[in-house]
């Protein structure tokens, strides 16, 4: 039985591939994008969170922590995230769900059982299941097993990926995935390194292999004003679309800060980049820039 680390399963997702979908978020990501909206996904390990707003200051957690990571403070728990050994004891005792670990182990079968609950909705809406993260292909064997079991059920399968994994990780999943949502963030090797911490060459290689398979691809391009709203980037996206006909569409994902409290919850500072969110006008301008570059099927979302 293959198992892996999941940090969330969302049902009735309407924006992660066609139709009505269930999305499993797998933990771990090779990139460190400065704008990441799922910071809790980055670490491949279980990881402590603390929602101060929910805390009742009962300090039950403080007493059970074997690592001395928790202390009773004046406004809730004071935490030294570095000391936490991810034993999970605090989460078990917390009455309010205010503290605990992101990431729980599931077998592929268990994930599929959870997916199965909404199978009727997939069928009627042309939907299916999506693996997201994190980078689901960081847990390639686990991801492939889920995809394979899902295909056995006859569901449409999608993988949201950053493409920055070795091509071998892709190849195990490839036969069981119908659609790839490829996050294409930056087209400049240096900037990609700087803003996302990734290896551009690896991503391009991934795309090459993926495109060769002929599987449908949707490019998801995060829009970060001042970072990637350049005509060069627009041109590069357009060039990819020309080069790879299996790129069926380009979706623009404007930067948002909905995930900012998650940073605080895991003991990280809120990204500075959230100080410069795009407005409607900027998004529209970016969309038209992409269209001018020759991309036909481009939309927000």
């Amino acid at each position: 039985m293959v198992s892996g680390l999941v940090f969330d399963i969302q049902r009735c997702a309407l924006h992660d591939g066609p139709g009505i979908r269930s999305v499993a978020f797998l933990k771990g990501c090779p990139l460190r994008c400065l704008w990441c909206c799922n910071p809790e996904s980055q670490s491949a390990e279980r990881q402590l969170f603390y929602h101060s707003g929910k805390c009742l200051s009962c300090f039950g957690c403080v007493g059970v922590c074997p690592a001395g990571a928790l202390r009773a403070g004046t406004e809730g728990v004071e935490i030294d995230f570095g000391l936490c050994v991810s034993c999970g004891k605090c989460g078990k005792i917390c009455p309010a769900g205010a503290i605990g670990l992101y990431g729980y182990e599931m077998t592929a079968e268990e994930v599929v059982v959870e997916f199965e609950r909404d199978a009727g909705y997939y069928a009627s809406s042309g939907g299916g299941i999506t693996l997201s993260g994190g980078e689901p292909l960081m847990q390639a064997e686990f991801a492939s097993e889920i995809l394979m079991l899902s295909k056995k059920k006859g569901w449409h399968t999608a993988v949201e990926t950053c493409g920055t994994v070795p091509a071998v990780s892709l190849s195990t999943a490839l036969p069981f995935a119908d659609l790839f949502l490829l996050d294409f963030k930056l087209s400049d090797r240096e900037l990609f390194k700087e803003y996302a911490g990734g290896d551009y060459g690896m991503m391009m290689n991934f795309l090459e292999v993926l495109a060769a398979s002929g599987k449908e691809i949707i490019l998801r391009t995060v829009f970060v004003p001042g970072v990637n709203d350049t005509s060069n980037h627009a041109e590069a996206v357009a060039a990819l679309c020309r080069k790879y006909p299996c790129i069926a569409a380009v979706n623009v994902m404007p930067l948002h800060d909905y995930g900012k409290t998650k940073y605080t919850d895991i003991g990280r500072p809120v990204p500075e980049i959230y100080g410069n969110l795009p407005n409607e006008g900027q998004v529209d301008r970016w969309l038209s820039l992409l269209r001018e570059a020759g991309i036909e099927n481009v939309k927000k979302g």
């Binding site: 769900g97 909404d118 809406s125």
Partner: protein, 718 residues
């Protein structure tokens, strides 16, 4: 009417009541003839037709008054105010004091209570469910009649009279019955002439037209849609019925004829229907005023569909909170109806409400114990209780609070096991159900003995054939319903009780009771633990199984109790109006984590904010309890506007289609945005048109009480 004239009218009413004591038909007729100038209101210049009115006076006779009263009702509070009215003459004041003294004990509800057995009296000690804590309460009303308007419009008043005289000739031994019924039809004619007289010669063209229509309807059956609306509306009012049957069936042919003859075109027809909606809305009965369109079993599907489409278009144009337009649908029905309904809902209309025939027909057949053919005539009334169209009555004359009962059971004694506690709970529900069913049949017997209600019986199957009054052996299927509240909270509480007291035994029953009695004061930690336990509405089998079991227990208790007292059916309804909020006021803190005094969950919905797993999980949960053992369970769904945006619309349709195909019986969808609601609480004056569905009725959000508003906000928005 001025206060002195009112007193004189009440005096005549009381005299007639005493004079005809030995002849209930004559007594009812004379009282109705005396009271109509009081309760019927003058026609306003832009009204579509005549006949608006409300039973909200100090004294009157009706199957269902505005207050919790029926038959010959007397409203003491109002009477006291009238007595204190400075404009009363001394003579009138003295007379009214006499009248009030008489009616104080002669009021039907009061007399009904006196006839209760000791069991009923002791378990239903109060009827003040809006002002006291309690496990169960009686409601006094003969509500939910759905008349055969098709027959009315086909025959007209003269035709109905002919039918009665034929019956009288064939069965001379029952002549008095038929003559009494005919006399009530004459009363209808009398009212039409009275209205016509008041309007004839008016400078307003509309009022003159109405006068002409009323004159015509005295002598013949209706020939146009407007005439048909006038007759059905006025008759409905005079019969004391508050629901409008399958309107597309009975008006569809008139609409088609008007269009054929060039009297109406699409636009004019929609305009006329919209004016009708406004007229119905003016009466303000947002808990009632149900009308149904669509569905199997309409004799003229094509014409009816056209009316249904126009009716939906009229909703879009008028945006009213009544009538409660209900769309029945089945696979194979003209898809335009569902499309139009979705478009209206997407725009923020709360109507039509959606009822799935493919599920409801077999469910009703099973619950009512009738054939599928007969169940095709199921029709919701009021807040969503099913009856069989002009074949059954099922007045909801009782309220049961399942959360309150659980709290009492928990306090009563200690239990060895969960099973022990569960059995005690089920048997306590059974105890209350038994007296509620007994009170239901008492109420029917009382109504049957109080008056014949011929206007209802004439348009009900079997009454004329049997020469029996509707509540006195006339109706084919004498059913009853009981409104059940708090079931979701009870189920969620049982999850917590089972775990905390038995499975993991983290506390004693005494500790739990003490914490609840102090409303969790100083025990927020415990309350959070309660809240974190599985809750109905998340497709969680633990919670959903218990909810299903609670539903089953209460439904079966009702069914058994109904059989014992001799009702053809006695069924639970999980409807809602604002009773979940009102009852919640007097219900203590519950183990599901709910604070004392907060609303109970609404209809068949999860507790506010407890559904967190997304729409499919919510719908899956709602699909689990059986639909075949009750007479309707309201399924509210609030969707955000973005669910109907271009990108999502098809997915939303697929979502709803799947729910219905998987056994979903009904949905009442409200489209709102959280921002709208929050802003509306700050600036209600800007939101006159914001409509929100609260359970089985629809009202403007700003008109709802603060606590109801807050409850809506606390429910999850998708």
């Amino acid at each position: 009417m001025d206060s002195n004239s009112k007193v004189r009218l009440f005096s005549d009413f009381t005299d007639a009541y005493l004079k005809w004591e030995g002849d209930i038909a004559k007594r009812a007729l004379e009282c109705m003839r005396i009271q109509y100038p009081l309760w019927l209101e003058p026609v306003e210049p832009d009204d579509l037709c005549a006949g608006r009115g409300e039973f909200d006076d100090e004294l009157g006779f009706t199957p269902q008054a505005l207050v919790n009263k029926f038959c010959y009702y007397f409203d003491e509070e109002k009477a006291e105010r009238l007595l204190a009215d400075a404009s009363l003459s001394d003579e009138c004041r003295c007379r009214f004091a006499e009248i009030a003294a008489f009616w104080k004990t002669e009021d039907s509800a009061c007399k009904l209570r006196k006839s209760y057995s000791s069991a009923v009296s002791s378990l239903l000690p109060s009827d003040d469910w809006k002002g006291e804590a309690g496990c169960a309460f009686p409601l006094y009303r003969m509500s939910g009649t759905q008349l055969d308007y098709d027959k009315l419009l086909r025959l007209g008043i003269p035709g109905l009279k002919q039918e009665l005289s034929r019956f009288a000739d064939e069965r001379p031994e029952c002549r008095k019955y038929y003559e009494d019924a005919a006399a009530e039809l004459d009363y209808v004619t009398e009212v039409m002439r009275w209205y016509a007289g008041s309007l004839r010669g008016s400078e307003n063209e509309n009022l003159n037209t109405i006068a002409g229509i009323l004159d015509a309807l005295c002598c013949r059956a209706p020939e146009t849609m407007r005439e048909a609306i006038q007759l059905s509306y006025l008759y409905c009012q005079l019969a004391g019925s508050l629901n409008f049957g399958r309107m597309d069936e009975y008006l569809g042919d008139f609409l088609a004829m008007d269009i054929e003859a060039g009297r109406l075109d699409r636009e004019l027809a929609i305009n006329m229907i919209g004016r009708y909606w406004k007229l119905i809305e003016k009466r303000g009965r947002v808990y009632d005023s149900r009308l149904t369109i669509g569905g199997k079993g309409r004799r003229n599907e094509k014409n009816a569909d056209r009316f249904a489409l126009y009716a939906i278009e009229a909703i879009r144009q008028v945006r009213c909170v009544a009538p409660q337009v209900t769309l029945r649908f089945y696979s194979g029905q003209n898809p335009e109806l569902a499309d139009a309904a979705m478009a209206a809902i997407a725009e923020g209309c709360t109507f039509p409400m959606l009822y799935n025939d493919d599920v409801n027909i077999p469910s009703v057949a099973s619950a009512f114990g009738v054939s599928n053919e007969e169940a095709v005539g199921y029709i919701p009334f009021g807040c969503g209780e099913y009856t069989l169209y002009h074949r059954s009555v099922g007045t909801p004359s009782g309220v049961i609070n399942l959360m309150q009962i659980l709290l009492e059971v928990l306090k009563r004694r200690s239990y060895d096991s969960y099973e022990d506690l569960w059995q005690a709970y089920v048997s306590e529900i059974g105890k209350y159900m038994a007296v509620l069913a007994e009170q239901e049949i008492c109420e029917y017997r009382f109504a049957g003995a109080a008056a014949p209600f011929h206007l209802i019986g004439i348009l009900y199957d079997d009454c004329l054939e049997r020469a029996a009054a509707v509540f006195d052996g006339g109706v084919r299927h004498l059913g009853g319903t009981v409104e059940s509240y708090g079931g979701t909270n009870a189920a969620d509480s049982l999850v917590v009780i089972r775990n905390f007291l038995f499975d993991s035994a983290i506390m004693t029953q005494g500790e739990m009771v003490r914490i609840l009695e102090t409303d969790f004061t100083g025990n927020e930690v415990f309350r959070q633990k309660c809240l974190s336990m599985p809750k109905y509405g998340n497709d969680d089998d633990i919670a959903d199984d218990i909810k299903t079991a609670v539903d089953r227990a209460v439904c079966e208790a009702a069914i058994d109790s109904g059989k014992k007292v001799g009702l053809d059916s006695y069924l639970v309804v999980f409807i809602n109006n604002d009773a979940n909020t009102v009852l919640g006021h007097y219900t203590g803190a519950s183990p599901d984590g709910r604070h004392s005094g907060l609303p109970l969950a609404n209809g068949n919905a999860p507790s506010g904010g407890c559904d967190r797993k997304g729409l499919t999980a919510l719908l899956n949960s709602m699909l689990k309890p059986s639909t075949r053992i009750h007479a309707g369970a309201v399924q509210n769904l609030k969707l955000s506007g973005r669910m109907f945006s271009d990108g999502c619309l098809l997915k939303t349709r697929a979502l709803l289609d799947t729910y219905f195909a998987s056994g979903g019986a009904q949905l009442m969808i409200t489209v709102v945005n959280r921002g709208d609601l929050e802003d509306a609480m700050l600036h209600p004056e800007n939101y006159g048109n914001l409509i929100v569905r609260v359970g089985g009725f629809s009202a403007r959000f700003i008109e709802l009480g603060r606590d109801v508003q807050e409850e809506i906000l606390s429910r999850t928005l998708y």
